[in-house]
Symmetry: C2
Amino acid sequence: MFKVRTIDETIELIGEKFSNMYLEVFQVESVNSYGFILAKDIYATENVPHFNRSTVDGYAVSHSVTQLASSSIPVVLKNLGEVLMGEESKFQVSDEETVYVPTGGHLPSGADSVVMVENTELLKDEVIVNNPTSKWENVLLKGSDISTDDLVLKKGTMINERHIGVLTALGVKEVTVYKKIKCLVISTGDEIVRPHEAPKVGEIRDINTYTVSKYLENIGLIVTDTLVIKDDFLKYKKAILDGFNSNDIVITSGGSSVGTKDYTIKVMNEINAELLVHGINIKPGKPTIIARYNNKLFFGLPGQPTSAYVVLNTFINDMVSYIYGMKKRDLPYYEGELKMNVHSARGRRTYQLVEYNNGKVIPLFTKSGMMLALSKANGYIVISEFSEGLVAGTNVKVYRFGD
Amino acid sequence: MFKVRTIDETIELIGEKFSNMYLEVFQVESVNSYGFILAKDIYATENVPHFNRSTVDGYAVSHSVTQLASSSIPVVLKNLGEVLMGEESKFQVSDEETVYVPTGGHLPSGADSVVMVENTELLKDEVIVNNPTSKWENVLLKGSDISTDDLVLKKGTMINERHIGVLTALGVKEVTVYKKIKCLVISTGDEIVRPHEAPKVGEIRDINTYTVSKYLENIGLIVTDTLVIKDDFLKYKKAILDGFNSNDIVITSGGSSVGTKDYTIKVMNEINAELLVHGINIKPGKPTIIARYNNKLFFGLPGQPTSAYVVLNTFINDMVSYIYGMKKRDLPYYEGELKMNVHSARGRRTYQLVEYNNGKVIPLFTKSGMMLALSKANGYIVISEFSEGLVAGTNVKVYRFGD
């Protein structure tokens, strides 16, 4: 018999077995790289800014001449003119001279600081400076944000819009990223029909391929296909093998019948997959299977939609992080007051669906097979395997799915 | 002079002015409705489940005959056979009879509960029942999850994969949703060049159209186009007017020069837009403009990339929620220990970029115009306008961008 694993053991094992999964890399334009994971560190090949910039609207000066400036004894400088936005300054500023520079404008040669316009007065060709400046005051020096050869983004970074901002600032046209993880999603069970069909008595419409595949797409994976397969061993085995030909992950959700559960184990044995996990101490979702085949991942979810969804949510982000070599992420949460008692099973970590609303946390209890609660839930709470439940009034952390 | 508004006043005003923005609706297939916002309530037109289902593998019985069953005095019933998964039961179960039903199988007529298989023994044609059952025990009654005419999803719901699950379970083929909000994103400034160009001294590459448009796409809006416009009043005005012809929102980020700032106000005046906000007590991001034109939204961001990004993040989700008629959402957070002092300006609410890592919160200080901190930041903390800062060691809440 296979030992039922704890959630923590399962995650550790996933890390051990899938951290070296081979993923192809390719070049993508930086501006189209959103959501991809960097396969190489990015170093700056330019300085940002690439010229000394003023950070205020004001007058460029040599700071030393303003040292004693005050409103009672101001310093008077000759006004040479104005640096235009977007243009290189042609001015050479001596100690007796100044030039107007707009915010973001090029600091003229000879100047080493900018007096804010509020601290000056313009009199014909002269500028009255009422305040001292210090060296490089109100100046963003060339390379002070990013210098050539700085490490800017690390391998394993999932590229977001802020990263695209820095890549465009640096003029990095293309980046090397991993191809996105490809998944095949299969629902099995003699009772399952496609949603456009009218189910007869005894049949139900397929739900899992939709909840699972949209979840996967939402966290940035590619779902190449979704299949519904009746309880037919050879077809099921062929679908899994075919799936591994063109995908990195095959995810099935088992029909609830005993037959289907056995089929999955039998397929894993026949194709010589390495069975890693067969049963997890999680509620709902105990009958979960994880295996490795040709360095690819098989993830067998329970058939019941809530169980399948909770198990997917609990493990897939860690799976993806390990595969891509990303840093493990903490989960953000809301805090709120639990409004009803929740019973849980000692020995199994319980994921309780809840509706969080403005600090109130309403547990949504589901009988096996119920859908509405899953649709109402906007989060879940986690109850320790060492507890028998939580009483109403407890302050709890509510996590969101997909985070 | 226009009064500088607080953040809370600004959000209230947005709610007042944009809650009735007209948005076209259309029909979309339920399985392709991910991320759309429901424009009509959804009522169930079927029962879920649509037949009485067993929730366990076991024997269907009339509960009354099992009332006195125990392992010492079991009840013996005649085994009529097996209900197959996905098939309608043809059995009629009398008080002396039973039928095997798999999890999810159809409860046969005459039975009103299911004894778990673990609490029975099969002896040839007879089943020994060792435990009593109560009425409807281990049965999911027809319509008990969802009944015909139940309100299932409310108008204003952003459809996620769990909602698609319930829609497919119900056989709802299409739903009525709002067309997605369309945005035009404009960067202005004589110093701005497109990222594929090599900036001369005095010029910088455009960043804002990328950070802003990818952010908008990430929260589910459509960016129809991005433009870079030099400081040319007529071109700027024309771009905004053209933008309103085919978009619901026009978002500009101003060049940092005084000229550009004046241009925006001047355009709003010339096109008879209703200027709502001109200056917000937020740091960074004070020079922000919000206006209404033909019941559409103009959002003028500051030019500095961090300021533009912080202002966008602070207001856009509320704008979108009001426009679509969605419920306002709380923000999830991490908690961690601030590792350095942060100074803030009393009278302005401060959004401080931070790097959150495993309970540690490192503030990322930026001079005006710096990019690297924005790229390193994975969140921000909010410092009250009634405070002058936070000291190292304070426990703080870290929010994520885009939540």
